[in-house]
């Protein structure tokens, strides 16, 4: 009788993932035993899980490990995203706590779904194998489909979930097909091995090119790049506001994490070949996003289009490439998450326990009724518009300086002109808050503490990165060195 030989598995790469997974399972179980109305406890449990994950990530900083045959990679790049996603998760839960009380039924599974979604996103950032990346993609997407439709009685929420599911599945199909073709061309799905299988000097085969192209389409859907952006406005508008905030910040970060790792680590051959294609995508994405955002009257829809435009800026940095280009993507994603989550936290804090108030006109006179919240909202708008001294300005500065460094002056010029266009619609919110006449202001409900905390964290982060960006930028550049040779 021979002894069963267990494979040696290094579990350390999974350490920062573990609290999130365990937290997800625990919240699911605890929820069964909690009476209705006591679900805040689950939120706190989720916060603890995310905080634990962040602490473990900080603790692992600097180590490089590969888990289960490269399936999951622990390096500075994935750790950077663990931190970012943990922050996004915490802010999301904070701003959900007051929102769930009121707008959506008070349900514990919400937090479970958020945790699993964060887990999927983290897996995507850490995936060293295309299959694992796909698993991560589907994990967070499935959780988000449910979250988008969480507001069961609201027709728009149902529509949002259905649209997201259909188009998400479609994009997932592209992605999986791409993986299959790349496997056919190279015989592997492990990212590190793909370039080696091509290294014999031959140009990449047609199969490989098509596979890469399909992957690009799949990522294009997830980062909401034009022309794969059609789902964004409807889904973001219909979903519960807290979920929209999470999707805007989290999806973008996770999708870019995987996108960068796949294209820079596994497909460098294609990256060179396609910088022209991504150039075009970047210009289209910025321009379409900004121009359509100009005419929106619903704040969620406007921010949805603005998120498309921001995907365009990020693509500019991808075209620029190099450690400054990719580093600026990482920096920008943090800035982007802070200012968007902050803006959504204000939206949630403002509506209090009332009905959704998504129209821009609903913000008339807010500047004088809720001065602190309105100042924060104004700051987030200035930051999104890229006006100093905010994180958004520094982010754009890095992106466009990377574009100039890599000799893409045309792209940089189109980018900055786009950001001038965007100033108009971001400032429109400020105009409405401060400069419009309100005949009889409706009474405002005091904002909940959790949402205010989320606003506060975002404001401090936005200002801090606007004034003292050096440390995060250094961190971002260090992280990038993990995937760029």
């Amino acid at each position: 009788m021979t002894e069963l030989v267990l494979p040696q598995i290094d579990w350390t790469p999974f350490a920062p993932l573990a609290p999130v997974a365990v937290g997800g399972l625990m919240t699911l179980t605890v929820d069964l035993f909690l009476p209705p109305g006591r679900k805040q406890f689950i939120a706190i449990l989720s916060l603890i899980a995310l905080a634990a994950s962040i602490l473990l990530s900080i603790n692992s900083w600097g180590t490089v490990r590969y888990g289960i045959h490269d399936a999951v990679v622990l390096d500075r790049f994935s750790l950077f995203f663990y931190l970012v996603l943990g922050l996004i998760g915490i802010l999301t839960i904070l701003l959900s706590m007051s929102y769930l009380d009121t707008a959506v039924a008070d349900q514990g599974e919400y937090y479970t779904l958020v945790l699993f979604s964060v887990l999927g996103m983290m897996l995507m950032a850490a995936g060293g194998d295309l299959i694992v990346i796909f698993l991560g993609l589907e994990t967070f997407s499935l959780a988000l489909y449910t979250l988008a439709g969480f507001w069961k009685t609201e027709l728009r929420s149902n529509e949002s979930a259905l649209k997201y599911l259909l188009l998400g599945a479609f994009a997932g199909g592209f992605f999986l097909y791409g993986i299959a073709l790349i496997y056919g061309a190279t015989g592997t799905t492990i990212l590190r091995q793909i370039p080696d299988s091509l290294a014999d000097g031959h140009p990449p085969s047609l199969l490989f090119l098509i596979g890469g192209g399909l992957l690009l389409v799949g990522f294009g859907f997830k980062i909401a790049s034009v022309p794969f952006h059609m789902w964004v406005p409807d889904v973001y508008e219909g979903a519960p506001t807290s979920v929209t905030a999470f999707m805007i910040a989290g999806t973008k970060a996770a999708a870019f994490a995987a996108f960068l790792r796949v294209f820079l680590l596994a497909l460098p051959a294609l990256h060179m070949r396609w910088s022209a294609a991504i150039w075009v995508l970047a210009v289209l994405t910025m321009t379409v996003g900004n121009l359509v955002a100009l005419v929106q009257s619903n704040i969620k829809r406007m921010l949805a289009y603005s998120s498309i435009a921001h995907a365009g800026y990020l693509l500019v940095a991808l075209v620029a490439g190099g450690s400054s280009g990719v580093g600026s993507i990482l920096f920008y994603l943090v800035a982007y998450a802070l200012m968007n989550l902050g803006a959504f936290a204000v939206i949630i804090a403002v509506q209090g326990s009332e009905q959704e108030r998504p129209l821009l006109a609903d913000y008339a006179g807010l500047g004088w009724q809720q001065p602190m919240l309105a100042v924060c909202m104004a700051l987030f708008m200035f930051s999104l518009a890229g006006i100093p001294p905010t994180a958004g300005f520094m982010g754009k500065l890095y992106i466009f300086s990377a574009a100039l460094e890599s000799d893409y002056p045309g792209l940089a010029i189109i980018g900055v002109l786009n950001s001038v266009v965007s100033v108009y619609y971001y400032l429109r919110i400020v105009v409405i808050m401060y400069m419009s006449e309100t005949p009889s202001p409706p009474p405002r409900i005091p904002a909940s503490a959790a949402a205010v905390l989320a606003v506060l964290v975002s404001v401090l982060g936005t200002l801090h990165l606007g004034l003292f960006p050096a440390r995060l930028l250094d961190l971002a550049r260090q992280s990038v060195s993990a995937i760029i040779g």
Partner: protein, 539 residues
């Protein structure tokens, strides 16, 4: 560090910033306290700037009170501040005008006083920052950052079309600025290509050779940003709207300080960074400046709104400043810097006066007035002095600046100087005609008969300006002397020539080829000698 060792410039920026923060925590209902505090804080900054003025060493051409702290190392940007003879007058102008503008708002601003005063103080910090920042990114941070308070000042406390005006102001400025930001980054990368180190330190970047073709593009990007701010014809259309809709204090600071940021930008950045391109653009910009002088004056002539008239007169006056800058000699540039100050004083005062009469009558239409000189004698007297200063009456400050600009320009391009001189005549026409319609004759409305003359607070606002107008007019030398060294240094940078200091005059040699002799003109009163340095071109 300053001679006393303190980071005086940082403190100068920090005073209004901390003051704004302090106001946040004060109950918004206590208007009177907030107003006094804001006045005290901005006056404190003014006092500090006076200390700086006293400690400023006119003999040093380079930067003084320099502060350097590392900021964003990875992109080579540092927290670098400094003042020289070019920025010193403008810093003083800023710190001088802000308390006056705040005092002037005591009666005009009745709602949301707290937010208003916070914006004013933030604006002051931003304006000072623009004039003392020597790192390109830091400069840009202040340059764009101060859009935010100005945006609120016009948009919240402005007139009927305030939203349109404020958005136009912000979008125009942004559109010009973003390209300048790219050009700044490009300058830094070009420099990195030469020396292998990325830096945004202006003093280090100046003098680096940039290929001529590239220079043209980069200069154009900088020039666009600054020309919109100045504003130069044909980028001036935002100005009348912004001025007319802005509250009085907003107009004062907009005309008094913000416009100078554009002309200052040319002197500080565009000329020394891209000297050859600046030379190539000189004909175009000089002609546009003259067009601006004449166009602004002609359009001012036909305005029926007092504020709009003053706004267009700004276009004309700033044309003079631009013309002087691009004459590129010591006399004209010093005239331009002085004229920036003069314009800040006279136009600022004009806006204050228009604001005072507007508070009384709630109209600014010239046709509504008439005969005010008998009804409001004190008001009329102040108005007269300021009008004369704006026209350029000898003995008052406007004359000195315009004289120097025209004299300097005449040596560079005679035709343009002659055409520009027409602008002075036109200025006399529109200002005196306006004066005549408002002040003389019979009052055309019975409401005017019951107006009360300006009171103590309003005198306190106007008298410091008028004293300064007289002082600069009679004795401009203290200010001019402080500019000499720095402007001469600037000319060296622009002409890429070797300079060395000799005695009281600057010796400029055109790579040894040119002959230089310091010449002196009598200026402007028989008892002052004014040194003129000129590089005689041999080609």
């Amino acid at each position: 560090m300053s001679p006393t060792g303190g980071p005086i410039l940082s403190i100068l920026i920090a005073i209004p910033l901390c003051g704004a923060l302090l106001l946040v925590f004060i109950d918004g209902a206590r208007d009177a306290l907030i107003k006094r505090l804001a006045l005290a804080i901005s006056s404190l900054a003014f006092l500090l700037s006076l200390i700086m003025y006293a400690q400023f060493d006119p003999a040093i051409a380079g930067m003084q009170f320099v502060e350097r702290t590392s900021w964003i190392d990875s992109i080579g940007s540092s927290y670098l501040l400094g003042v020289d003879g070019i920025s010193l007058p403008l810093v003083l102008l800023t710190t001088f005008l802000t308390p006056i503008a705040i005092l002037a708002s005591f009666s005009g601003i009745v709602s949301r006083v707290k937010a208003y005063m916070i914006c004013m103080l933030l604006l002051q910090a931003g304006m000072i920052g623009v004039f003392v920042a020597l790192d390109l990114i830091l400069f840009y941070l202040f340059w764009e950052g101060m859009l935010i308070p100005m945006y609120f000042l016009i948009g919240v406390w402005g007139g009927r079309r305030r939203v349109y005006a404020t958005l136009k102001f912000v979008l125009y400025t942004m559109a010009g600025s973003v390209l300048m930001l790219l050009a700044m980054i490009a300058v830094a990368y070009l420099h990195q290509g030469r020396v292998g180190r990325l830096t945004f330190d202006l003093l280090e970047l100046i003098g680096g050779p940039i290929p001529y073709g590239t220079q043209l593009w980069l200069f154009a990007a900088f020039a666009l940003a600054f020309a919109i701010k100045v504003p130069m014809f044909p980028f001036h259309t935002w100005l009348p709207d912004a001025h007319v809709e802005a509250p009085t204090a907003g107009s004062v600071l907009l005309a008094g300080v913000l416009l100078k940021m554009g002309t200052y930008g040319f002197l500080r950045f565009a000329l020394p960074l891209f000297p050859e391109a600046a030379a190539a653009f000189t004909p175009l910009i000089s002609v546009l400046a003259v067009i601006g002088i004449l166009y602004g004056a002609l359009v001012a002539m036909v305005q029926d709104d007092l504020k709009r008239l003053v706004a267009y007169s700004s276009v004309s006056h700033l044309g003079f400043v631009m013309l002087g800058i691009f004459a590129m000699n010591l006399q004209a540039i010093e005239g331009s810097i002085l004229q920036m100050v003069n314009h800040g004083l006279s136009t600022g005062a004009l806006f204050l006066l228009v604001g005072m009469i507007y508070e009384r009558r709630h109209t600014r239409m010239i046709e509504e007035f008439g005969g005010l000189s008998r009804l409001l004698p004190r008001f009329a007297l102040c108005f007269l002095v300021v009008t004369m200063s704006s026209i350029g009456l000898p003995g008052l400050n406007g004359f000195v600046g315009e004289f120097l600009i025209l004299a300097g320009t005449f040596r560079a391009h005679k035709v343009l100087a002659i055409l520009a001189a027409l602008g002075i005549i036109l200025a006399a026409v529109y200002m005196l005609w306006m004066w005549q319609r408002v002040m003389w004759g019979q009052s055309r409305r019975s409401e005017n008969l019951t107006l009360h003359d300006i009171g103590r607070r309003e005198m306190a606002i106007l008298i410091p300006i008028i004293l300064l107008i007289l002082w600069i007019g009679l004795n401009p030398n203290p200010l001019l002397r402080r500019m000499d060294a720095s402007v001469a240094q600037l000319l060296c940078d622009v002409r890429s020539t070797e300079c060395e200091r000799q005695g009281t005059a600057w010796r400029v040699s055109d790579n040894g080829a040119g002959q230089v002799s310091p010449s002196f003109v009598l200026y402007p009163t028989p008892y002052t000698l004014y040194p003129v340095v000129e590089a005689r071109s041999t080609n």
